[in-house]
Symmetry: none
Subunit: 223 residues, 2 copies
DNA sequence: GAATTTTTTCAGACTATTTTAAGACTATGG
DNA sequence: CCATAGTCTTAAAATAGTCTGAAAAAATTC
């Protein structure tokens, strides 16, 4: 996910950037409204975090111009408590959400997730493979009349396999994408989850299976 | 709440309708100005969303004729950015608010809420789910012959669950929408209320229940 | 201002998920 | 066929997330 931060207080911008990079977001930072607008117009971002008070051009104008150029990227406005106005709270300026400073990293991330989810809620469709249906909203796996609920990690592992229905997914990739690159998960963790999933496939009576390619990885297959 | 959408771009009309139906608004849609006027004259709506450019009769004329007939329903005009005129911005036409396309669902809902609030006389309809009836006017929950009254927070939590009868509502969303995004409510507050509600469902003998999806949220389910 | 209701807080119980670890199994090269 | 490294499976231990009852605090009502 690509995020643009437009904030002139460098310390704060830095902090924001760090918080988001920890979430593996791809972050760009600029420090005035003019740059914010130019970067925003590139249309390459999934979310823009925009301070209201900025040099050269204020946040409201930036959003306004973005919208005039049909850039519908979700915008999260940052504002000091004493700068709050109806223009912000009513979101009449075209922003999608606002947050008053100071705020917690959790709140920031929560709002960013909410915004990107809102945007992508069309993508939250069910995934089909062979006779299986993975319901993203309820984290359940269905096959015919039967269904099972998946744990968080099971879900993520399966989702990754489904994202490459023909290709092979390595244990390493699974570890990085499901456990995180800084985790100390071992291959056996992946093996355990593959085993759990196979057991559930079997319980569901599905004709789908997970094939092993020794020393390479796993892939979905249809029997 | 009853809403009339008058919009000739069917896709947009459809999208608007969906957004509002998710809020459990009672939505009617028509696709030209003449029908818009006819429906509007029935006087049954709490808000009318009206495009400016319409076949048969433009939006301005529709509002004008409505007002001539003493229909004082709040009207929200939709206009493309390049159709904007003082007639719109000044609201000289008799509309109560206007919004330029494109806009976010949130903005639309915010404005509609604002309009109906301004009106002050929101019609409170009951919400039904499974064997439950939530009476919005009295904040009571009914099932068969039994009923209980809900506290304000219980009520809001349940209403949010009912607003997404199929989807899952996260604790995060509940906190933001019930406690407010600037509150310091914690997950356990939500858990406590979910527990209260379950107890009341049980007392009522309802077949409805609240399911948990670990690390994701809650959703209504029917046993 | 007392009584009642609603909301928050907290701790311990409970449960699902995740990790760990050990032994069984299997493909592959020698 | 054997040795080996890689993989599978399972049980159990550890952890993290959730539930719930009770009591304190706050808000409302009478």
């Amino acid at each position: 996910m690509r995020v643009l931060i437009v904030e002139d207080e460098k310390r704060l911008a830095q902090a924001l950037g760090q918080i988001m990079e920890e979430q593996r977001y791809n972050v760009d930072m600029v420090y005035d409204g003019q740059d914010g607008l130019d970067y925003g117009l590139s249309g390459q971002y999934d979310v823009i975090v925009l301070d209201v008070m900025l040099p050269k051009m204020d946040g409201f104008s930036v959003v306004k111009k973005l919208r005039e150029n049909n850039i519908s990227v979700p915008v999260l406005m940052l504002t000091a408590r004493d700068e709050i106005s109806d223009k912000v709270t009513g979101l009449d300026c075209g922003a999608d959400d606002y947050m008053t400073k100071p705020f917690s990293p959790e709140e920031l991330l929560a709002r960013i997730r909410a915004l990107s989810r809102r945007q992508g809620d069309v993508v939250l469709e069910d995934i089909h493979w062979a006779d299986l249906t993975l319901k993203l909203s309820s984290r359940t796996l269905h096959c015919g009349a039967k269904s099972v609920s998946l744990g968080f990690k099971e879900f993520e592992v399966l989702k990754l396999l489904l994202a490459n229905p023909k290709g092979i997914v390595s244990k390493e990739e699974l570890i990085v994408k499901v456990w995180g690159s800084d985790s100390n998960a071992e291959d056996n963790n992946v093996e355990a989850y593959i085993s759990f999933l196979r057991k559930k496939f079997f319980y569901l009576g599905s004709r789908a299976g997970i094939g092993t390619v020794r020393k390479v990885g796993y892939h979905l297959e249809e029997n």
